[in-house]
């Protein structure tokens, strides 16, 4: 074929294609209330075809789409246009604008559109004025839309709806069952207003917006559809972080957005088809502490350290003898038993794994149940504090050598381990975990605290690594029994190690006792110390007359008394709250120019209104890092001086005891626990949050970044936004 002929043919084909496109643009002029045009059916829906004068009726514009085709939401996303309707109505009849049900995301390669597939109904209402002329009337709608699959086809239709206007006196309905069915089924997809106590707050971030929604329950699934075009980067994934009372969404903004919107408007779709109309106002939204910070490297190193931690548990005096005795048994075993022994090693591992998994399940259950409480909440319970202090004190006594519980249990484990059978091995594994607990509680506490703040899968991974670490040495020995020789023999060094471990335990007891005294006063302190005495007496009986039934009984009675005291005395004695933190600190710091006041929302408002910058220290006496931060950073002379120079109003929100107002303030900041350090400057809506670990430099930096104008107090009200 000669090139020019080919060219002419191509050209002909092209023109033909263009004609085809033109022909495909559908124009329906039907004197009917519906039209079937390219790729869709469009119809006016009037469940009640009588217009009772003065009473609005529900109506809708309905689209039924061919598979794969879609029409658009009011914000169509990266491309597309929403359907539009233009009415020609008889005198006295009016129609409200169409409302748009919640859309779905329609990805199109790198682009993201918002719209509807399959079918959609856009509701509106029509009303005949009280004075409208009764009788038949024709409602004329000019509808146009854009329907797309990969390609887009604009469409138009003119639809006529016949209705009867009924006078006020008569008031009769004429129900169309098919229209009613459509309306009832589809109109409920309209988003609802966010119920009144629930809130929507957003905070601009360098890359976009952090949107916090409270719904009163943990939300794990959400999509936000912005009403305004050009605010968000539509295709960017929206990261959902569930919080105790709702969720936080990380949204990416449109690269060309220059000024942040005053409000973030749109529709939020939650799990279970719940849709809400959102008008978010600016505010502080902190990144939630439980954010799934899923860096693979971080997880890998955490898992590695958990494994190491598990290995170390083997050296604990409670566990080591078990390992050693079993190791000796291995050396004495004949070669033909080796295979069987390996199996035992694996079963032992399984026993440990299962015990840890049970622990994980319990923890996750507790977390789900305590979802509305911040981590650390248990320290707000005096009963918990007393029990914890008593338990640790008793364990400390045992470790220090007053009596043996750990080792008695261990030898029980040894005899159990001596029993043959895989069940024996399995329970030896279980026992190793249980027996280890007295020695490992402080270490496990740290791991549990960390794991609680993580997603379930991470928690699971950490505990699995811990379990494998604990099991590893014994399993290694079953494979290479000769290695038993390398193990140091149990002996005096174990006793020394055991006694040394009691020192940090007693340290912890001192801390807990101080917390109790700080928060609940001297009476409870007295009770707690008396409980310690009871425990010491019980320990004496156990140690002085070991394995004597009567002595064990006396000790058990004493322990029971202590337990009852732990549970009952805090309730009776703790009613006098010592407002402990604010007072002593304000006295000590008054000399340096700045004064800590007890926190209240009003106080903060007041100071801001007076033009003062505000610093809030959310703290609790049981929170160690809070105490450390206060000592090493906040109370340093140069920091207090800088606070004074910039006339910063200092507030201390003491969360040592449950305080709903403080809990609420923390939630508003997106946090569920302390410490939190919030810096408010007048005229700015959102506080700056400082890190959870403070240095004087961090605080001084934040003070220096305050706008200079606020250094002198101005009596003016804060201006909103910049």
């Amino acid at each position: 074929m000669k090139p020019d002929i080919l060219f002419a043919m191509r050209r002909f084909r092209l023109i033909f294609a263009l004609i085809a496109v033109f022909a495909a643009v559908p124009l329906a002029f039907a004197a009917s209330n519906s039209a079937d045009v390219a790729h869709l059916h469009v119809q006016l829906v009037f469940p009640n075809q009588n217009l009772n004068a003065g009473a609005p009726v529900n109506a809708g514009l309905y689209f039924k789409l061919e598979s794969g085709w879609h029409v658009y939401w009011k914000n169509a996303g990266d491309s597309g246009e929403p359907p539009r309707v233009q009415w020609t109505l008889p005198k006295g009849i009016s129609a409200t604008p169409m409302q748009f049900p919640a859309p779905q995301r329609l990805p199109l390669g790198p682009l993201m559109d918002f719209g509807y597939e399959d079918e959609v109904l856009f509701p509106f209402t029509v009303q005949a004025a009280a004075a409208a002329k009764p009788g038949p009337a024709v409602l004329h709608a000019k509808v146009d839309w854009l329907v797309c699959r990969e390609v887009c086809i604009p469409g138009k239709a003119e639809l006529d709806q016949n209705v009867n206007v009924v006078s006020r006196a008569q008031m009769v309905n004429l129900i169309s069952p098919s229209d009613q069915e459509l309306w009832n089924r589809l109109a409920k997809a309209l988003p609802k207003a966010l119920p009144s106590p629930d809130t929507a707050v957003f905070q601009p971030t360098p890359t976009g917006f952090r949107l916090a929604i409270t719904t009163g329950q943990r939300e794990t699934q959400a999509e936000f559809f912005p009403e305004d075009e050009d605010v968000l980067d539509n295709p960017a994934p929206q990261t959902v972080t569930p919080t105790a009372t709702g969720l936080v969404l990380e949204l990416k903004k449109d690269a060309n957005l220059t000024t942040n919107p005053a409000q973030l408007k749109g529709v939020l779709e939650l799990a279970g088809g719940r849709n809400y109309e959102i008008v978010a106002t600016p505010g502080a939204v902190a990144p939630p502490p439980a954010a799934p910070t899923f860096s693979f490297a971080a997880l890998a190193s955490t898992v590695f350290f958990a494994f190491l931690g598990g290995l170390l548990l083997n050296l604990m005096p409670c566990v080591f003898p078990v390992l050693f005795l079993k190791g000796l048994a291995l050396v004495q075993s004949g070669a033909e038993e080796r295979h069987k022994l390996r199996m035992h090693g694996l079963v032992y591992t399984a026993g440990i794994l299962v015990s840890f998994w049970v622990l994980v399940a319990v923890l996750l259950g507790l977390r789900a149940a305590g979802a509305t409480l911040g981590w650390g909440f248990q320290f707000q319970s005096p009963v918990f504090l007393a029990l914890m202090a008593a338990l640790l004190f008793f364990l400390g006594l045992s470790l220090a050598g007053q009596f043996d519980i750990g080792l008695t249990l261990t030898s029980a484990g040894g005899s159990l381990a001596a029993k043959q059978g895989y069940a024996g091995s399995f329970f030896t594994g279980v026992l190793a975990v249980i027996v280890a607990t007295p020695c490992t509680a402080p270490f496990m506490g740290a791991a549990i605290g960390y794991a609680l703040a993580q997603p379930a899968a991470v928690t699971f991974a950490i505990f699995t690594a811990l379990a494998l670490g604990l099991a590893a040495p014994y399993v290694a020995l079953t494979f290479h029994p000769a290695w038993t020789r390398v193990l140091p023999k149990p002996g005096a060094w174990m006793d020394i190690l055991k006694q040394a471990v009691s020192i940090p335990i007693f340290g912890t007891v001192i801390w807990l006792t101080w917390v109790v005294a700080e928060a609940y006063g001297a009476n409870l302190l007295l009770a707690l110390l008396s409980i310690f005495l009871l425990l010491a007496i019980a320990g004496w009986f156990l140690g002085r007359w070991p394995a004597q039934r009567w002595a064990t009984l006396v000790a058990a009675l004493l322990l029971l008394t202590a337990l009852v005291a732990c549970i009952t005395t805090p309730r009776e004695l703790a009613e006098a709250p010592a407002n402990s933190l604010a007072q002593p600190l304000s006295e000590s710091s008054a000399a340096r120019g700045a004064v800590w006041q007890p926190w209240s929302a009003d106080g903060v408002e007041h100071a801001l209104a007076a033009g003062q910058p505000v610093f809030v220290d959310f703290t609790a006496s049981w929170c160690l890092s809070c105490q450390v931060n206060e000592r090493v950073a906040l109370s340093q002379p140069e920091v207090m001086k800088a606070f004074g120079e910039r006339n910063v109003a200092l507030f201390k929100a003491d969360w040592t005891r449950e305080d709903p107002a403080i809990t609420q303030a923390l939630t508003a900041l997106g946090r569920s626990g302390v410490p939190v350090y919030a810096f408010y400057s007048p005229g700015e809506n959102n506080p700056r949050l400082l890190p959870q670990v403070l240095t004087p430099g961090i605080v001084l930096d934040a003070i220096n970044k305050l706008p200079t104008a606020s250094a002198t107090p101005a009596p003016a009200a804060p201006s909103k936004q910049q």
Partner: protein, 205 residues
């Protein structure tokens, strides 16, 4: 216990908020990313060659009804002629992937240009969507204006009537004309970023 969990949390947070590297993407008010592309006659063009001139980018898809609105009416052609006569460089860009609507060969495009009496400086063939992604082009038509310093000064719709109807061209506020006239008069562009309308760019997916 508490302090450890706090520390661990702080470390985890710090890791989560490491700065996210941004790609070299076109943003209004910033220098436009440089590109090199081949036109429908096989010639190569780099944006940097045209420093000192205004450059218009027009995303195009001859099968899209919104693009057709401006070609059937002759609106786009007259804009091309008017502005290229004033020294503006006008690139029509086709980012449709092979097999997608609007994908054309060089010969097909040249035939179309002749038939439509279109007069861009050149038509840049972008079947891999490189330019499209570089400028985040979303729809056809979508217009970009780059000033003589190489700064992107307009991105968005061709005008303020997002319809496929030829009758809507008359009386529309043409954002492209506004941007070029304001910039040439030394004034800031009033509507520097608008939502473009039309069909989605048919990238490969």
């Amino acid at each position: 216990m508490k302090s450890l969990s706090c520390l661990a949390g702080a470390a985890a947070l710090a890791a989560a908020f490491m700065p996210v590297a941004a790609g070299a993407q076109a943003v209004v008010g910033s220098p436009a990313p440089n590109f090199t592309a081949t036109d429908s006659h096989g010639q190569t063009h780099s944006l940097s060659e045209y420093r000192g001139k205004y450059v218009v980018l027009e995303w195009h898809n001859q099968g899209c009804p919104y693009t057709r609105k401006h070609y059937v009416s002759g609106n786009m052609q007259s804009l091309q002629k008017e502005w290229t006569a004033k020294g503006v460089v006008w690139f029509t860009v086709i980012s449709s992937a092979p097999g997608q609507q609007g994908y054309v060969t060089d010969a097909e495009e040249n035939a179309y240009l002749e038939q439509m009496h279109a007069a861009p400086t050149a038509v840049l063939m972008d079947p891999e969507g490189r330019l499209g992604h570089l400028f985040s082009a979303k729809t056809t038509p979508e217009m970009y204006v780059i000033d003589p310093e190489g700064k992107l000064i307009y991105e968005g719709a061709i005008d303020d009537r997002p319809t496929p109807d030829v009758s809507d061209i008359k009386g529309a506020d043409n954002y492209l004309n506004d941007a070029l006239m304001e910039a040439m008069a030394g004034k800031p562009v009033a509507h520097a970023y608008t939502r473009s309308y039309g069909c989605s760019v048919k990238y490969a997916y």
